[in-house]
Symmetry: C2
Subunit: 287 residues, 2 copies
Amino acid sequence: MPTSDGRLYGFKYVNGHPKNMREGRQTVTAFGVLADVGSGYPMLLSEMTILTALCTAATSALAAKYLAPKGSRAMAIIGNGAQSEFQAIAFKALTGIDRLRLYDIDRSASEKCARNLFGKGFDITICTTGQDAVEGVDIITTVTADKQCATILTDNMVGSGVHINAVGGDCPGKTELHRDILLRSDIFVEFPPQTRIEGEIQQLDADHTVTELWQVMTGQAQGRKTPEQITLFDSVGFATEDFSALRYVRDQLKATGLYEELDLLADPDEPRDLFGMLLRAALQPAA
Amino acid sequence: MPTSDGRLYGFKYVNGHPKNMREGRQTVTAFGVLADVGSGYPMLLSEMTILTALCTAATSALAAKYLAPKGSRAMAIIGNGAQSEFQAIAFKALTGIDRLRLYDIDRSASEKCARNLFGKGFDITICTTGQDAVEGVDIITTVTADKQCATILTDNMVGSGVHINAVGGDCPGKTELHRDILLRSDIFVEFPPQTRIEGEIQQLDADHTVTELWQVMTGQAQGRKTPEQITLFDSVGFATEDFSALRYVRDQLKATGLYEELDLLADPDEPRDLFGMLLRAALQPAA
């Protein structure tokens, strides 16, 4: 990596292709770049499918710390695909969840999730319906992949006092919750202008009251107020989460050595002599 | 590379940092990506500093084919940095230019350019002023890097019948020509909404008449009409040029073998088992 004065900017390339799964490919295809503000040189190129799963789960669990009922132990996870285990582990670390009720329309996905979480301190139940999964839980996480306005949770499935962590609805035309649930919930979001387009609240009026998570974290707004309240974190994924994840990765590189140098940029001895560099390269035998 | 159905999309990451040169770095830092429309998987990651120089020069020479005076042989190149040789060679290939008059505020840049073009069929003169460089030429190429509204060409330097290839002015606040030259010229551009922001014509009224290059190429508009006319190609660089360059590179990969496979994406055996892939990777000794 070239040296930097430390001021970085970045971007994320990300695609959601639910159909990829049938062809043995990742639904979320992502990579990211950090670049140096001073020179414009890219500093880091990283995969972001795993990073997206990690930082989505971290943000969800962070939100739950402020919004879930005190002493929450049991969580339903509806949708047991690529992101489910990350969610479970993040919630265990930040909120103390140790009982999981798993449901997926494909039971083998739930079995895969349970197998992967074996020995990690969870009491796990595989459920046969979504209704069964939400029975008695404190937190409901929905993290399904289908790109449509689905109804993973119907209104009758959500009792008072629950915290809903709605992860899967994250682009226009892709939602998971019945609108009536939203109307009964106090809704918390990352960044309203984005969430109103991409999140569950695309189903609501554009001026429906929502609270920004950062306001809760800084004490400027209240999180959970009563035990009966239904709280909803309408997760869509916000740029600063990805930016933080990339910077975290970069900070780990030196100690872990888990990186390789890429020969991505033309690097002539004299910057104005780009053409001369090519002339000289043409004279050398191929490496 | 993964297989693709052939439908590709792409993006270019590009920065212009004129100050980089003083630190021995490239002014234009760029790379590009081609990705598969069907799956969202990235297919190609390529440097684009060299590609930008190549396709900028190719587009300039293409424009000159339609706009420069018939039988043009002599070209002034003002600004003899990283892109200058590419411009010269493209013009030789497409318009038959074989006499170059070089000028740069740093004479060593002109000497570098002349040295790199030695033996490539040019009669080259290094000039001591811009005024000297434009003496008797058919085409004036300005390709300087400074990020400011400069006046590389003043009005008195441009005689009738000349074609101006204005390459360096390519972002807001970065121009090379005196406004009066623009007012005397017939102006041709890649894409008006972009060029009005980035090009020389940012100095003109928003409704100033310009002609799109593609219209000339398809016969829907006329290029050069008279020998006396001053034509100006206000080059800023348009996305389809970069997209074409990336596809060209991709088409050359198989035959040349000049690529390496990048392990950029998480690739679990079962796409929903991203976490399981990490578990299994953790059990294996580091490669």
